[in-house]
């Protein structure tokens, strides 16, 4: 693995990103935009496209890191029509804002990504599911979709072939669970957005019981460059053997330059913080970070040099999630931070299954008591049990919800005990 000292990493997804400016269709085309779909339509079969995506080792960027090519392959050859592509632009995972930045930077990249996905799944209808907080982005998308349609990239018989595809923008009513695939499909059908355990899988029976391929914004945006430059090129973008491509790292919290940076997959955490995010502010020292949104486990000081890619983190018992890095310094109380995260999960639990619906507020209550000096020694064991058993919930929400608590109990148990023994929050006390 090459130590990277030069900062000029290739900008693939952000190739057209300009400060405070949305790339127009012309900007996009100037840099090779819509060439990929041209190539696809004129020279590739839908199986070819699947193969390239599979070979590129593109893993889903929405958090679950499922291979995008494999997902495409689960659409059976004889599956019924019409088929749907859903772009997951819900992005409600706290700390995550990469999709927003990407949508504002280069909307046509997403449109072309959806086109490629649609071509390979033989889908004719695309829906972008977007959170209501991103009203601005939703309008941009609607506008640019219309422009793309005028330019002949969307609609009937695209580029003269027999491939037709349209895109609608669907605004959510706003709830974290809507980001989960099956819940999102329920939401799109006007049902309560509770998840629905497979089988059947969405690629078999999704929207209106028809095959539906759902993918994150960033995942889809990776597709045009992959098609243009090939699978191998994409894999080689990563710094690690297991990784592939670049990654949008959103960094926030105790850093000087919070923001979204496109860096090769596998870049080290220390580098991201120090080099790209401008280091930590005066007087702040790295204590911990959440590597990929609220539903991941804290990385502590020991992981400061960790290469940030899916596989490496997984091997260390962690998750890269959405690569939304939230940095905490030594002045932050980890109990209080975890309490805040738990309050989020308790508020957003969809209410379908018992462990999550009742367990998240229970954990929140215990953490609140500990943080406010009312902790009791038994609480620690109760917390551990709760965390363990929330893994038996109905969907991936609950295991995500307990990840920070597990991290807290694993890496910062002393801090928890200090709260209990001192009957107050040590950080407040020292203020």
């Amino acid at each position: 693995m090459a130590e990277t000292t030069n900062t000029a990493y290739p900008q693939v997804l952000f190739a057209n990103r300009k400060p405070d400016r949305i790339a127009t269709i012309d900007d996009y085309r100037k840099n090779g935009g819509y060439e990929a779909i041209q190539k696809v339509v004129s020279t590739l079969s839908h199986k070819d496209v699947q193969k390239i995506i599979l070979d590129s080792n593109l893993l889903g960027r929405g958090g679950a890191a499922f291979p995008a090519g494999l997902k495409l392959q689960t659409v059976a050859d004889d599956a019924p029509f019409p088929r749907y592509i859903v772009c997951n632009a819900d992005e409600m995972e706290p700390g995550t804002f990469k999709d927003r930045v990407l949508l504002h930077a280069d909307p046509h990249l997403l449109i072309e990504g959806m086109l490629i996905e649609a071509y390979s799944a033989k889908a004719e209808k695309g829906i972008i599911f977007i959170r209501p907080e991103y009203e601005n982005a939703a309008r941009i998308l609607e506008r640019e979709v219309a422009i793309a349609e005028k330019a002949g990239f969307l609609g009937k018989n695209i580029l003269g072939g027999d491939f037709s595809f349209t895109i609608d923008v669907h605004r959510s009513g706003g709830r974290y669970i809507c980001g989960e695939v099956t819940a999102q499909l329920n939401a799109l059908m006007g049902k309560r957005p509770n998840p629905k355990q497979p089988p059947p899988y969405p690629t078999e029976k999704g929207l209106w019981d028809l095959p539906t391929v759902l993918q994150n914004v960033e995942t889809l945006c990776c597709m045009p460059p992959i098609i243009r430059n090939g699978a191998e090129w994409f894999r080689n973008l990563a710094l690690t053997e297991s990784g592939a491509g670049t990654k949008l790292y959103g960094i926030s919290g105790r850093v000087n330059k919070p923001g979204c940076y496109e860096l090769p997959m596998g870049v080290r955490l220390s580098e991201i913080i120090e080099k790209h995010a401008g280091g930590m502010p005066e007087g702040s020292e790295f204590k911990a970070c959440l590597p990929g949104g609220a539903s991941t486990r804290y990385l502590s000081r020991a992981h400061y040099d960790m290469p940030m890619d899916f596989e490496t983190l997984k091997a260390a018992g962690h998750r890269l999630g959405t690569a939304a890095i939230m940095v905490f310094d030594q002045k932050t109380c980890m109990v209080a931070a975890t309490l805040n995260l738990m309050a989020f999960f308790a508020r957003e639990s969809c209410g379908w299954c018992t462990p999550c619906r009742e367990g998240t507020p229970y954990i929140r209550d215990l953490l609140w008591r500990i943080e406010n000096g009312r902790g009791e020694p038994e609480f620690v064991d109760i917390l551990k049990k709760q965390c363990k058993y929330l893994w038996n919930a109905y969907c991936a929400f609950a295991p995500g919800a307990v990840s920070p608590v597990e991290g807290l109990l694993a890496d910062f148990e002393d801090e928890v005990w200090a709260h209990i023994h001192q009957k107050t929050c040590p950080f407040k006390a020292s203020d």
Partner: protein, 828 residues
């Protein structure tokens, strides 16, 4: 067939069986809240967790969500699984009000049971409890949301199973709330099942509130007597009153649920006006003494007029024993009757009974598996409510459901309605039959039959004939079509044609089934046992002509027959003797010279035959007697001590009847089944009451009995262009005799109205909300108009209603001239 091991015991189960079900077969009841056999698995509550030790999955799994698979080794007692389940219960109890002592579910609460058995006894959570505001849901169901454990059973039952959408789940996370958009009476006529299906005390039985605990009740199985389906119920009695009813599972009849008419129809048993002491010439007399007097007077009447001057009348609500005994009595004494023909539909029922071959008939549950259903001349929701959810399950499984009926049928699912006028119903059926005869090789029927079938008029001049023709194609292409045929309002040809169609389909390929809906709980028995030569109308005439001088009426209100009340009253006045045996207060009991109170089916064992010829048995739920609320005079506990049960001198009608025939009091034959066999050969082989199977026994019915393919019975009558047909229809609440006495259901009974097609209404300058004055032939009524385009043209529908009984015609179908209706103006 996967083979697996659960708790070290091996079992083989059919493919697709869930582990929770497989365990149940071994007698292992894995805890469950959200799983329900009628609603399936959704994996919400997580209390059914088990540990998979070996096999395709490992670790903690939800037993309701995983299919039994080969090589699985499952432990329900594994320490981790037990501990996890205990945690699930702790979660569910975090916010629970712990109000078991005052909760109406206390004592039969699944949450209570699992909490205790799961060993979750200590409260650890210190946070505040969430609370909810309750809603008023109408007279039947009380709402107490704080007790909810969010298992989603109620909404899944209410919306998915029965297809109503006025109860739902609101909010998110730990605040989820089950209720209505606005407080108000639940719209579903199956709402009472919420009480049974909710595993805790959120929905409780409102009418029985504060009347006792589960363990205070005498609880017995029974069969519902409020329509012909004969659903299974469990009765709870206390202090000599029936207090509540619940649905009881039946594999073949109703499944897990019942309708609200059936659940809340029982109060006739408890009513203060119920006759409880015998009367002779207006004077209270001992029960047996009164019987003896009645026997003597009948004997002397027979001396005077000969046995033919006496007639016996029963009804479709009499138990099979009473019906049989009436026949036995009439036969033995040479009296006329029995007439069960109080309902004019009885002739249709006789046709139905004669055509219901054993291999054609299907049970209510089997309807759920049909893939194409044609309902003709029936209005399921209003006539036999539980038929509607059965049809809905078929629909949910992809069946096509079509209703050919003039009434504005509504059903809680998507169906095709052919609003065919009563006069055209036979033509509509003819389209289906003709098409079958034209298309299919029916050689086994013989040439003549085929020729005559092909000669059936094609009925092409009725509205939407093409739609009906297309319906035939669907019938033919289905695997399991079912013809559902009503008898209440059907023209006389229809029940036979329905059977013809089913039979033809069967010959043509698909395994067709036939299902009749009948007017009363024991219409089937009445049809088997009645004297076909004597109708009630004839009987009234013979009274008027002085031929019949004495009448024995058992459990039948003659005034419900629709015969003009003045005429009937005059006829009864002419009688020398009217002996009425009944357990409800009616005009007929009031008109009786001798009144013999009888026990209800709740107080004495009773048999009845449902619409598919299934003989079912209800044991006595309690022993009868005056309710303690009355004998105690408000004192609690009552202070008068005696050995006998006050008010329990009376017996069942059938035990009284032999005395009327001059036998010794109480000399009813001992061996029930033997003498029922005398009454009708089909009843010969009924099991002893102790051996009666839970789902009863289906009578062996002669194969292909009755008159088949009588195509000539259908002819295109001339239509009177200007005439209107008045249909006196049933409605879910307020029509059926016994349940319409229920104070509980009063609030749900719609007020009388008349329904008409808007275009027909326009002709009379009427629109919804106007009042119309109608001369029905039996009387004049002023009714509010409801227009609906789902009704057949030139048809008026009046749902039968107690308030109108004196003014509605006896016939369910009456042809009226246009002058019979006009707008009622202010001055009217």
């Amino acid at each position: 067939m996967p083979k697996l091991i659960i708790d070290n015991r091996e079992i083989t189960v059919p493919e697709g069986t869930k582990v929770i079900e497989a365990a149940e077969r071994l007698g292992i009841m894995i805890p469950r809240f959200c799983y329900h056999p009628a609603l399936g698995s959704v994996g919400a509550c997580r209390v059914c967790a088990v540990k998979c030790l070996e096999g395709p999955r490992k670790g903690i799994q939800m037993s309701c969500m995983i299919d039994a698979q080969d090589g699985m080794k499952v432990s329900t007692t594994d320490a981790e699984a037990v501990d996890f389940r205990k945690h699930v219960i702790e979660w569910l109890m975090l916010h629970h009000p712990h109000d078991c002592p005052v909760c109406d579910e206390g004592g039969h609460c699944l949450l209570q049971d699992l909490t205790v058995s799961g060993g979750q006894g200590v409260r650890r959570y210190q946070g505040p409890k969430r609370t909810h505001t309750d809603q008023h849901l109408g007279p039947l169901v009380a709402h107490e949301m704080n007790r909810c454990i969010q298992c989603y059973r109620c909404v899944r039952y209410y919306q998915e199973f029965t297809g109503y959408e006025d109860l739902g789940v609101m909010q998110i996370g730990s605040r989820v709330y089950y209720g209505r958009f606005r407080p108000g009476t639940l719209e579903s006529p199956f709402s009472g099942n919420l009480i049974d299906i909710c595993p805790t005390g959120v929905y409780t039985d409102k009418p029985s509130r504060y009347r006792g605990r589960r363990w205070d009740f005498e609880r017995r199985p029974a069969v519902c007597l409020h329509c012909s389906l004969g659903c299974h119920v469990t009765v709870s009695a206390r202090y000599r009153e029936v207090v509540r009813q619940e649905a009881r599972f039946s594999e073949s009849v109703n499944g897990h649920f019942i309708c609200d008419r059936g659940r809340y129809g029982f109060p006739y048993v408890n009513l203060p006006e119920r006759p409880r002491s015998a009367r002779v010439d207006g004077t209270e007399t001992g029960w047996e003494a009164a019987l003896k007097i009645a026997g003597e007077r009948l004997e002397s009447a027979a001396w005077k007029t000969g046995p033919q001057g006496i007639a016996v009348v029963g009804s479709a609500r009499c138990g099979l024993e009473t019906q049989g005994m009436l026949k036995r009595l009439a036969d033995a004494k040479g009296w006329r009757g029995p007439v069960f023909d109080i309902d004019p539909a009885a002739a249709n029922v006789r046709t139905a009974v004669s055509r219901l071959d054993s291999d054609l008939r299907v049970s209510l549950r089997e309807i759920e598996t049909a893939d194409c259903i044609v309902v003709v001349s029936a209005d399921p929701l209003n006539e036999s409510p539980m038929l509607a959810p059965a049809l809905r399950q078929a629909r949910r499984n992809g069946a096509r459901v079509a209703v050919i009926d003039p009434r504005p049928a509504s059903l809680p699912f998507q169906f095709d309605h052919f609003p065919v006028a009563p006069d055209d119903l036979a033509a509509a059926m003819a389209i289906l039959i003709r098409k079958c005869a034209d298309k299919e090789p029916l050689s086994e029927l013989g040439k003549t039959a085929v020729r005559s079938l092909r000669g059936v008029s094609d009925g092409a001049d009725i509205p939407d004939a093409d739609g009906l023709a297309a319906l035939y194609d669907d019938l033919h292409d289905s695997r399991r079509p079912v013809i559902v045929c009503g008898t209440h309002t059907a023209p006389p040809e229809i029940p036979g044609m329905a059977a013809d169609l089913a039979l033809l389909l069967r010959i043509a390929g698909p395994r067709a089934g036939l299902f009749y809906v009948m007017p009363g709980p024991n219409s089937f028995g009445a049809a088997l046992l009645s004297d076909p030569a004597l109708s009630f109308g004839d009987l009234v005439s013979s009274i008027e002509e002085g031929e019949t001088k004495a009448l024995v009426v058992a459990e039948s209100d003659l005034f419900g027959s629709g015969i003009d009340w003045d005429r009937l009253q005059n006829a009864l006045n002419k009688l020398e003797l009217l002996v009425t045996l009944d357990y409800i207060d009616s005009q007929t009991t009031r008109a009786a010279r001798i009144l013999i109170p009888t026990l209800t089916a709740y107080e004495t064992p009773s048999l009845s035959i449902n619409n598919e010829g299934r003989v079912q048995q209800s044991p006595a739920a309690f022993r009868g007697g005056d309710p303690i609320a009355r004998t105690g005079g408000g004192e609690h506990p009552p202070r008068a001590f005696r050995r006998d049960i006050p008010g329990r001198e009376m017996g069942a009608a059938w035990t009284a009847l032999p005395t009327l025939g001059g036998r010794n009091p109480g000399s009813a034959p001992v061996n029930l089944t033997a003498w029922l066999g005398d009454a009708h050969p089909a009843l010969t082989s009924l099991p002893e009451s102790s051996d009666f199977p839970p789902d009863g026994v289906r009578l062996p019915l002669a194969e292909n009995a009755g008159e088949r393919f009588q195509t000539d019975r259908f002819s295109h009558g001339e239509k009177e262009e200007d005439a209107l047909t008045l249909l006196v229809a049933d409605s879910t609440f307020g029509t059926e005799e016994l349940s319409s006495l229920s104070p509980i259901l009063k609030e749900l009974t719609p007020s009388p109205c008349i329904q008409i097609h808007p275009e027909d209404a326009a002709e009379f300058d009427l629109s919804t909300g106007d009042a119309v004055r109608i001369d029905t032939g039996a009387g004049t009524a002023v009714l509010p108009v409801q227009t609906t385009d789902r009704i057949a043209r030139r048809v008026l529908v009046i749902p039968r209603h107690r308030d109108l009984d004196d003014r509605l015609p006896r016939e369910r179908r009456t042809v009226l001239s246009k002058t019979a209706i006009r707008k009622a103006t202010e001055d009217a």
